[in-house]
């Protein structure tokens, strides 16, 4: 594995590498050499199978990270190629000419993260989010809860109780009344003295 990575480094300059176990390594490459490097891995080093493509939104670092996992059947080894994209300009070269299956991943990533792959077939068509009218939902700034509250309605008749309130009501009604009244008096005095200052 180290040899393959060294050869890869000589040709394309590996920015970062991490060998997790003898048959799995992660390498980070520059965006402009990534497709060339993947082509090299496929055609020269025997990583013929595209396992998958995934994306992560690192909003704090203002970037998207793409990961291409490639598999070599002879060596039973995987190399994961990582590419970092500027979040302001999320465009990446398409891989569909290398593996036709890539177009599905790319279409999905476009839909979920808004990362564009110009030239990839049907990349702009919705895959599962028909009629989606919001920002791509896997982006970190998408507020799932807010969206669901605005879009859907809760089941009727649902209600929940607060353990504290129910115990007040059932177990110490008078004492709870004492507590709140005393608290009110003490706080009123405190607020008045604060206002007087």
């Amino acid at each position: 594995m180290e040899d393959i990575l060294n050869r890869l480094d000589q040709k394309f300059y590996v920015q970062a590498r991490y060998v997790q176990r003898p048959n799995l390594a992660f390498v980070t490459l520059k965006k402009n050499v990534a497709v060339q490097a993947i082509t090299y891995l496929r055609d020269v080093e025997g990583f013929r199978h595209l396992v998958m493509i995934s994306a992560v939104d690192y909003i704090e670092q203002n970037m998207f990270q793409l990961t291409y996992i490639l598999h070599n059947y002879q060596l039973h080894s995987d190399i994961a190629v990582r590419v970092e994209l500027d979040r302001e300009n999320p465009v990446m070269d398409s891989l569909h000419h290398l593996w036709a299956a890539a177009q599905v991943y790319q279409r999905e990533i476009k839909e979920m993260f808004g990362i564009d792959f110009p030239g990839s077939p049907r990349v702009d068509e919705p895959m599962i989010l028909e009629g989606w009218d919001n920002i791509p939902p896997m982006r970190k700034e998408f507020d799932t809860k807010k969206y669901s509250e605005e879009t859907y309605f809760p089941r009727e008749g649902r209600a929940s109780c607060d353990p504290v309130k129910i115990m007040e009501k059932k177990l110490y009604r008078v004492e709870a009344e004492v507590k709140y009244e005393i608290k009110r008096v003490v706080r009123d005095n405190r607020n008045k003295s604060a206002d007087a200052n």
Partner: protein
């Protein structure tokens, strides 16, 4: 498109004559894996309705609802989770967080009903096929999302503290307090257990958010003795803490202490004490300046009444001063806390004993209302021969003398009789006074001991020996030693308190030699003053009061604390003081109307 692409679909035909993999109808149910996450199960006896599952559920699938036949009780809200399976995503966070470990998931996953409302149900309560399934997902120790361990309190080592009355617990540092506060789940089950119902989750949140001034204000809403309670409270809240079911409860008492330790220098300023309060021309007298009386004074001052306290000692604090040794509650701490209460403008008459120096009748007639909080300060004597022998002491009197600064010589060997917190204070004080051997005699077993476990543990660390199932029957003096004759006991049938009654074993008498013997078997109320104003008392000598309003048969006289309900802890007395303030105000403002609906 190549020729292969065209032909390959037809390769499926080669299986035409093979046995199919599909399952015949009616579908035979296949059992899920042993750790499959299917429909929930809930052990409703274990569940205490804390609502943590509801809190963690990201899909808002869980509601806490009242669930017949479960009802609210000490340490149990009586609520049980109800799950909306239209929202549940089977993530099992609710199971992984459950503090009691009651919630789990069965491996049952096949169930269907056409009625959408049936998809909302209460696991463990509603009858379902999988209700008692053992298989399925349960949380494991590694997956538990909570931290079961309490942040340890730094204390003086046993060898050091044995020789000094210096405070034993040193108090939390900031990182410790944050660590401990972050364990709190804010379920609020503890609030009910506290006699004065302090807003525990609220002040713990204040610690976590580093708003200690707010924290102090929250404490004083319900308890003007927070600094003392932060040290010596019996912490009934911790007994019901939800984390205590599978680990150690939150150190609520130490967190409270942390707030006061870090704010006491600016306390009056933070609480606005010393600033003008509403003024009423009504006058109230409080008899006895212990935790109950002073709490009543504090809150009644907030209502605007003019308060006079009659105190028979030359200092205030009652049992907090005279019953609790310095190593648990330094006098300096108590003094500054009492000062805060007096700074609201309270008049105190020291060294006046109501009933002797001034009559209760006179006070009852001169003042608009009276609150009696004289406590239970008389130690109970054992009805055995030789109680008046030289070297036999009464527990509360002994502690009283130590509080006054005396350091009596107890000799080499001290015997302490009793199993309550007073007995623990006595035996641990004896160690500090230099006794070489201290032995506690208790007539039941360790399990029945009313003293706090922590106190028992610490006494053992300090070298105190315990002897259970034994009771003295006779004390005499031989030369310069006491001869304490004891008899062995065994446990019989449970009595009215639910504890098993100790029964003497005939002929098992034996003698222990000692230099001093301290009786710490209980306290009594001195309610002699009651008859001066025709106030009824009970057969235990406590004032006969309405347990809700604390009012006696004489309308403007109220009583509470130990003298109202019998000997108990400080927090109970504080709660009574607060309650008295409320009902006395109600009595004075709504003349003639009943105090409760």
């Amino acid at each position: 498109m190549s020729l292969k692409d065209v032909l390959s679909p037809f390769s499926a035909w080669k299986r035409t004559l093979e046995k199919p993999f599909t399952i015949k109808k009616p579908i035979t149910e296949r059992e899920g894996e042993d750790r499959y996450r299917g429909f929930h199960v809930n052990d409703i006896e274990k569940c205490i309705g804390c609502g943590t599952c509801e809190e963690i559920c990201q899909n808002e699938a869980i509601d806490m609802v009242e669930s017949y036949p479960i009802t609210a009780n000490k340490g149990d809200s009586g609520l049980r989770p109800q799950i909306d399976y239209g929202r549940c995503c089977w993530c099992a966070l609710c199971v992984d967080v459950c503090p009691t470990g009651s919630l789990g998931m069965s491996n049952d996953y096949i169930w269907v009903t056409p009625n959408p409302d049936e998809w909302v149900f209460k696991p463990g309560i509603d009858e379902k096929e999988w209700k008692d399934d053992d298989k399925g997902y349960r949380r494991t120790e590694e997956a538990w999302l909570l931290d079961p361990e309490q942040e340890p309190m730094p204390v003086l080592e046993p060898e050091v503290r044995k020789n000094t009355f210096k405070e034993m617990a040193k108090g939390y540092q900031v990182t410790m307090a944050l660590e401990e506060a972050s364990r709190c789940l804010e379920c609020g089950i503890c609030i009910e257990a506290c006699p004065t119902h302090m807003d525990i989750p609220e002040y713990i949140r204040a610690i976590r958010e580093n708003r200690l001034e707010d924290g102090l204000k929250i404490l004083y809403d319900t308890n003007p003795f927070s600094e003392s309670c932060g040290r010596v409270c019996t912490a009934r809240c911790q007994d019901v803490c939800v984390l205590g079911h599978n680990g150690e409860p939150i150190a609520i008492r130490w967190l409270k202490r942390y707030i006061t330790d870090n704010t006491y220098e600016k306390r009056n300023e933070i609480l606005g004490i010393g600033k003008p309060l509403p003024e009423s021309d009504k006058k109230i007298v409080i008899i006895g300046g212990g935790p109950s009386g002073l709490t009543a004074a504090f809150y009644l001052r907030n209502y605007g009444y003019q308060i006079t306290i009659y105190e028979k000692h030359d200092k205030l604090g009652g049992m907090l001063r005279y019953g609790i040794p310095e190593y648990r509650l330094p006098k300096e701490v108590l003094d500054r806390e009492i000062k805060t209460i007096l700074d609201t403008g309270v008049e105190v008459k020291y060294k006046v004993e109501v009933g002797k120096d001034v009559s209760l009748k006179e006070l009852q007639e001169t003042y608009d209302a009276v609150f009696i909080s004289v406590g239970a300060q008389k130690g109970t004597e054992m009805p055995i021969e030789g109680m008046d022998t030289l070297g036999v002491l009464i527990g509360v009197d002994f502690l009283d003398r130590i509080a006054e600064g005396e350091r009596p010589d107890l000799g080499e060997k001290v015997i302490v009789v009793g199993g309550g917190n007073t007995a623990m204070d006595v035996c641990r004080s004896s160690v500090r006074l230099g006794a070489k051997e201290v032995q506690v005699l208790y007539r039941r077993t360790e399990q029945e001991m009313p003293a706090n476990d922590e106190e028992i543990e610490e006494a053992k660390e300090e070298g105190v020996k315990f002897e259970f199932l034994t009771s003295p029957v006779k004390i005499s003096r031989k030369g310069d030693k006491l001869q304490v004759e004891c008899i062995r006991m065994k446990l019989g049938e449970p009595d009215s308190s639910g504890r098993r009654r100790p029964v003497a074993i005939e002929g098992s008498n034996y003698v222990i030699e000692a230099d001093t013997c301290v009786m710490a078997i209980g306290q009594k109320v001195d309610s002699e003053m009651a008859q001066q104003a025709n106030i009824k008392t009970t057969r235990w000598g406590t004032f006969d009061i309405d347990p809700t309003t604390l009012q006696t048969n004489v309308k403007n006289v109220f009583a509470g604390g130990d003298c109202g309900f019998g000997p108990d802890d400080a927090i109970r007395a504080i709660a009574d003081g607060k309650k008295a303030a409320y009902f006395i105000n109600k009595f004075l403002t709504k003349k003639g109307e009943p105090l409760i609906d």
